[in-house]
């Protein structure tokens, strides 16, 4: 079982598959590929053996092709919240959506953590999360006839402002700058909608406070000139991009050292039996945060994990050039 399907996690599926260990992959993102797919899909990578140059997205596609015959299962768009050990030593993981998966081994290949919405540093903001404050839009119909404040200057803020202009009773876009770095077309549309009176555009202002009783009722803005404005709001949607966090991993009783999990470099096992950590998420003397090092870690991890998955079998080392790929 693998938590997160980043490149190293995907290759671990392959290495496990060579030993006939079938994997189930869980990732908080809706797509496989982790940081590569989320943050830099089109960036070229130059240090993957055999590829003088390959785009991050292409590498993920090649890895997906490579592991397909091992038929991994996928749970995407869910985050592993907890890990519970059973009396026989095996593990049951539970996601934020209530999915439970039983496994004999857990491999954490979470890169630098979950990429979660970046939150503004405002007192009591968390109190209103789910009660007017949201960092993503799942169903835009809930905003019908509501007063909505969007904050941010990137593509997400611009795109949602344009869409919600026809749905919300009132839409206000707040941006700390005076220009938008998102798509010029979207920025122009937003400016046009503001001119037409279909949305309010407040530039050079920052969110500084949120207010309300049970749910959000208003937000306070501070202008660059220090002027304070209060806006009535049923919803506040801060859209400031994503930032990496370890997330619930910190609650799994594993040692953590500077946002990484210390492992034994012999097999990349953590200090909790049957739990391994590979790729950027781990740390050990001499650690290099390189994809190719993560691939190496995946191979050694799989050899070590075999004893938990097939305790009655003896592991024999095999070359793919001699034995090919097994079927699972």
């Amino acid at each position: 079982m693998h938590y997160r399907c980043r490149p190293v996690g995907l290759f671990a599926v392959f290495e496990a598959g060579l030993l006939k260990m079938r994997c189930h992959v869980v990732d908080v993102l809706q797509q496989v590929g982790g940081q590569l797919a989320e943050v830099y899909p089109s960036k070229p990578i130059y240090d993957i053996p055999g590829y003088p140059e390959i785009q991050a997205r292409q590498l993920i596609e090649r890895l997906m092709e490579q592991i397909a015959s091992f038929r991994p299962g996928y749970t995407l768009g869910e985050r592993v919240e907890s890990v519970e050990r059973q009396t026989d030593g095996s593990l049951v993981i539970a996601t934020n959506d209530g999915t439970q998966i039983a496994c004999k081994v857990l491999v954490i290949a979470a890169g630098l953590g979950c990429f979660e919405p970046r939150k503004p540093n405002i007192d009591d903001l968390s109190k209103y999360e789910g009660h007017g404050v949201s960092y993503m839009i799942k169903d835009h119909n809930v905003f019908e006839n509501k007063k909505v404040v969007l904050a941010g200057g990137g593509d997400a803020a611009l795109d949602w402002a344009i869409l919600l202009a026809d749905i919300a009773q009132k839409i206000t876009l707040v941006h700390r700058g005076n220009t938008f770095r998102g798509s010029p077309d979207s920025a122009q549309k937003v400016v046009d909608l503001a001119k037409q009176g279909k949305m309010d555009l407040i530039l050079e202002s920052n969110l500084i406070a949120v207010n309300g009783q049970e749910s959000l009722e208003s937000v306070l803005l501070e202008g660059r000139d220090k002027s304070i404005t209060e806006l009535q709001a049923d919803y506040l949607i801060p859209l400031f991009g994503l930032s990496p966090h370890l997330g619930p991993i910190t609650n799994w009783q594993l040692s953590i050292d500077k946002s990484a999990i210390p492992v034994n470099p012999v097999d990349y096992s953590t200090d909790s039996e049957r739990i391994y950590a590979i790729g950027d998420i781990n740390t050990y003397p001499g650690k290099l945060n390189l994809i190719l090092c993560g691939f190496h870690e995946a191979a050694l991890m799989a050899q070590s994990a075999f004893k938990y998955v097939f305790p009655d079998q003896k592991l024999s080392f095999k070359y793919t050039t001699v034995y090919g790929k097994p079927t699972i």
Partner: protein
């Protein structure tokens, strides 16, 4: 010597000579010197997890542009003093600069 005064996330202050990193990014210099920066995107100005605040000496730096400006512009609490250390090349002009690593 290129001495930079650095305040870490525990608000401890130290002076670091980054001469040996001249020509490399300040993010690399800080990471190599043991400072706790994630630098998740590895230096592409995409994730902002190497952000620093320039407390003194910002005049020695060229204005942010391109991807650095794009990324800084969407941060909720970025200020004029905010920079992405991955986009700052260590050079002699940085001598005497004071920086702060904010809590992420």
């Amino acid at each position: 010597m290129i001495n930079i005064t650095i305040q870490n996330i525990e608000e401890e202050t130290a002076v670091l000579d980054v001469q040996q990193f001249e020509g490399h990014s300040l993010m690399e210099a800080l990471k190599s010197s043991g400072y706790d920066l994630l630098a998740a995107c590895g230096g592409m100005a995409l994730c902002a997890s190497c952000r620093i605040e320039i407390e003194k000496g910002i005049g020695a730096l060229a204005e942010p542009f391109g991807q650095e400006l794009d990324t800084l512009d969407v941060l909720p609490d970025a200020a004029i003093s905010s920079r992405l250390s991955c986009q700052l090349k260590v050079n002699q002009e940085m001598d005497g600069m004071h920086i702060r690593i904010p809590k992420s």
